[in-house]
Amino acid sequence: MTDRRRRLSFTCAACCVLGAAWPGAAWPDEYERVEDAVCLSQEEALERALVLYTPEQPVEVREEQCEQVLFRVRVVAIPDRDMARDIERRAALAGLPTLLLEAPGRLPTYSVQLGAFDDQQRARVQVEQARDAGIGPVRIIRAGTEAPGYTVYRRIAPAVPETESEALPEETGETALQLGDEPPPPEPDIEDEPSDFGVSFPRLRAETGLLHGGGRPARQANYLHGEYGIDWQPPGMLEGRVGIRFDGYHQSGDQTLDDARLDYGESYLRFRGDQTRFTLGTQRIIWGRVDEIPPQDRLSTIDLNRFILDDLTDRRRAMPAARLEHFRGAFRVDAVVSPRFREAKMPHRDSIWHPVDRRDGRIAGLESDPMLADLVRAGTFEEGLDGDPVGGVRVTRSGRGGDFGLSIQRTRHGTPYYELHPQVREAAAQLAAQGESVEGAVTATDEPTFTARHPRTWVIGGDFGFNALGATWRGEAVWLSDVPATTRDTLELITVEGAEWVVGGEFYPGDQNLRMTVQLAGQHLLDPPDVLDRVDYTSLNVELEEVFAREAWRVRLRMSTGLRVHDFYFNPRVSYERWEPHEIYAAYHYFDGEDGTLGGYYHRNQLLTVGWQVSW
């Protein structure tokens, strides 16, 4: 029984009780009878009351005495009992209900009732059936009686005002209501007259970093960064933007560096339709769904100038592209074509973040090898340009219950992979076979000893996101047709199939301000030969973020650790954000790991940074 039905049942019972306790009591005047709910059974009355009930007009079910009209079908004036019993038997054989009645008197008479109906038409039908069975004469007798019944009453005057137009103080003409003596709020800033052009400083940043620990490559590493943009947004379907950025790097100590670079920012022309957007120019396009390391992010230009010190946004540069986005309902199709692949922005060769260590003969991500080390120290490097068209299509759906995406791309690996010149490789093999140092092999050619390669590859991937158990779950995976690797015996560059995946969740423990993201990630070479590269790599990535004092302070911790290999990154950061829109921060970056890992390669770059940044 539903709550409402139970309440009405009790109300019905209470009405009965009240009627008993106060005999002759008159019902309150504010109730009126519902004309189509009169003299029903209790069950019928409750059903009807459920339908009629509203909070504004509650209902009551009242028991009343009701006149009942019946149409009885009878064979009457039967003179003797045997004849009456015979009629009863024949009616029963015909499937008719029977009731033998006696009217006592000096000369008793009998009648056989063949049913009683509240509907005269049904009574007529019963008469026809009796006659068809050869029973007669049959009569319809109308009779009236009184019996208890239940009627639904509904309150006339609602408990609360029916409509606002009746309740609102229209007559007084009030259109405002001031409460208390709170001083009025400050007036909002009045902006200049709207213009088609706008200027923005998305970021201005200055940072100083102090390295520590034995073997540090430099004593200090400073960074200066600025972005400037002019937006054009006239009425209509066109808009545009021109952006530029500046990056300055300074190192002091063993490895000194002073480097300043200008680069274009997002600079494009955009056409906007109802369900379509076409953008032509340099753009920062970051595909994927998971945090920090989305496997499907293969078209954007990676910025390696500061390795992973910065967030994903700051580790990506604009690239020239034509981008078509089409929206239909919950679906979005995103197609990108870049006429010329833009490889990763590399740091200066003397930067502590360069992936080639000429002092110790190491290349980031590769296990140490004596022959390789000699060649790295003695050889030359060229950052090769493999500019040719790349592109891809991504389809996403964002709607009730969950989001997902699929993508297919034909692109190149943005991070350089260094290929040893074939002639140098051959000469080194010969020298090694003779037991001699391979450093002399670099003279086997006038061309660069090592050339940065960005092998082409197909990338097919998918991703999902949904909420469950109070958390947001995200996952992403890709298959790559060609992942570069170096054979251990001959130091030859080859490509093999590969796969990458990330799954994780975002939580708010205790449903407070602490945000926690935990991700598992994997990178795998599929069925490779013996290579210097790590074949299987899995890691656990955690990010914690908490705000204090009404977001005046923000504390964040990033951590990444290999699961079957010692490869560790630890980055606590605290920032003061009360002085909006400025931010002052301090952070620590700790790297450690075994040979062949990025943590191991950068383990001497542990540094403490202090910085300031602002956005207008």
Binding site: L177, R400, E577, E583
Partner: protein, 279 residues
Amino acid sequence: MPRKLCTKTRRVPSLIPLLLMSLMAFVPAASASEGEAWAQRVYERADGDDVVIRGRMILMEESQEPRVRETYEYRLDVADGEVRNLVRFTRPGDIADTGLLTHDHADGESDQWLYLPALDRVRRISSERRGGRFVGSDLYYEDLEDRKVDRERHTVTGREDIHGVETIVLESVVVEGDPSVYSRRIRWVHPETLVALRTDYFEGAEEPSKRMTVHRLEKIQDYWTVMDSTMEDLESGHQTRLVVDDIIYDQGLPETLFSTDVLSDVTRERQYRPAQNQP
């Protein structure tokens, strides 16, 4: 069941007093059913089929300069308990163009997405957050929800004056099992406008932890609108003042405005914004 014609009302045979007492115990108090009625009317208060608000959230702390978040908020009542809501931050610069899109469904579930302009990415986020302060204010995420009436049991506890205005005091206690941050609320409802002029929020204690106070109502396009209000953290003294600078009702906002592609594209919502610098 035979059809009956009603003849007269007659008292039924009397019942024993004990049965009378036990039955009376189950009859809902008039103030409780009245409370449900008031709560329903407050929930259904006419507030337009859609609305666009240009507003400010002013975070105030003692001895500190106020911090201001400027926003545009769009809301659309689709039908049958389906509500769409889009909030776009315009200031300060570090959160400018950040957007929050919420789809509230009739069955009480919600979907929520956040747009991060720096990443140019839309992220699904948890819609079950209730605690935690919204952009550092004194509003919890739960305070932004479309709160269905049946999540609480409502009772009218009396009438009181608020600044010379008579109000109905409505107490709402969370039903068992509801994951609300609050254990109960007390609202002082203005019967003519159906606006709660004051709301005390309780988080399990005898004393309220937060208080929302309305300073000014205005009738705009025939809808009574809260133009100025303050949410105060009673324990710390922090306050968040919510100011409506401009508002437009019933523009006929399209449902497509509340999609993730619009969330990621600020330009597409601008045509619906109230114009600034109006004389």
